[in-house]
Amino acid sequence: MIKNRRSPLVYYPKTVNELLQLYKSMPDSLLFAGGTEILYGRREKYPVLPNNIILLSRIEELAAIKRSEGYLEIGACAKLNKILGIGEHVLKPALYQAIKSIATCEVRNLATLGGNICSSYRKKTLFPLLTLLDTRLELRKHGGSRWINLKKYMIESEGLQPGEVLTRIRIPFNNFNNQAFVITGDLKSDYHNAMTFAFIASVQKEVLSDIRFSIGFSNNSIFRVRDFEDALSGRKLPIFGLTEDPVYNRLTTALKSNDIEISPFRRQQIEGMFLSFLHQLNDTL
């Protein structure tokens, strides 16, 4: 151990109330769930951690997974592999694939959904899809709680406030009967250069009643073109020659004018991905 360095004090709350009380009295403490993000790639024998650590994994309520009629409710400390255990038929293919794409099976036995959401670095894996699915988060603090949309959570002023803890994640069940989650590059070995694509669409009686897609970039920003999605929704399938359609300009313009710097190669990749998903939709008929 390094001389003169104080080892952290660890607290093991068993209920959410205990946790909130502790966190209120020690707002600078580290909330430790799976820990995979905290120790990832660090080689020190004694990693420097804050003076006070609150271990969340002993709180059963935070690891619970519940299914109700309208949504799937997942405790923030539910391990990713436990969530996969619910099955692809409940999670639906895109979410199942997205979770499975995270790290190795061993790491998924430690990593939690709440950790993935709270991590400032891992926004590329589940965020693009969870935002499409209208995911809501429960943020609790001593003496109060609030539900917030994931999109709002990403805005700093509306996201986690001092003393707040992410406790539950609510993913509504949906009728999107066509879903895809695609990764270009390798999230495990080359996270920075990989991109994630999430597509979900609902096709009813040969009509594309709803389509949503988003992309996770290397700088952890999420790209989505709502007016392009709206323009496509309600169209009859099959859709051919979309690139000649004026509506398609909304996508290409957004790709060019976006705040995120996208190289021509990436733009082509994104357009190609979208068109290939559209082909898939045409093929479902």
């Binding site: 080892s7 660890v10 004694y46 951690l49 790290a103 190795t104």
Partner: protein, 160 residues
């Protein structure tokens, strides 16, 4: 900080800084050298241990997280019939994982064949991609996993 836990079926206690990694505690405080320090990111599988029956990378957790939990390392797993199912199967299939990936592969195969149904090729390949190492051929590994499942199934029938 004093941390009590169960290690390979025995109750043990260690007085160590809580932030010390589990892998270092196992190797330095208990002399269990089967788990190895390699990538420090949980990706290589060389430090895999079983925590409460789940495979986890010991390099990714500080020791305070295992207080009052059950931990099994390869040293403890070696004495079990489950281990023999796998190691005999590997030998039969001429699959010889190197010391670097041995822990990860054996524990992962154990987890896979515990599902009580014959593993599919895609599942074996996914397992292999989690423990990428050039030491054993893909075909021998696939064969080894299939034999391991048969061994376990056979032993299960004998037990019944």
């Amino acid at each position: 900080m004093r941390i009590d836990f169960s290690l390979n079926g025995k109750k043990v206690s260690t007085d160590t800084p809580p932030e010390k990694r589990l892998i270092d505690v196992l190797r330095e405080d208990f002399g269990l050298l089967s788990a190895k320090n390699a990538c420090y990111s949980g990706e290589c599988g060389s430090c895999t241990v079983l925590l409460e029956g789940q495979t986890i990378p010991a390099c990714q957790i500080p020791v305070f997280t295992i207080r009052a939990k059950h931990l099994i390392t390869m040293e403890g797993f070696r004495g079990t019939e489950k281990y023999l199912d796998i190691i005999n199967a590997f030998s039969e299939a001429k699959c010889t994982p190197c010391p670097f990936c041995f822990n990860g592969k054996v524990f992962a195969v154990d987890r896979l064949i515990d599902n009580r149904r014959s593993p599919e090729i895609s599942e074996i390949m996914a397992l292999l991609s989690d423990h990428a190492c050039g030491c054993a051929s893909v075909s021998s590994f696939i064969q080894g996993v299939k034999y391991a499942f048969q061994n376990r199934e056979l032993r299960g029938e004998l037990l019944r």
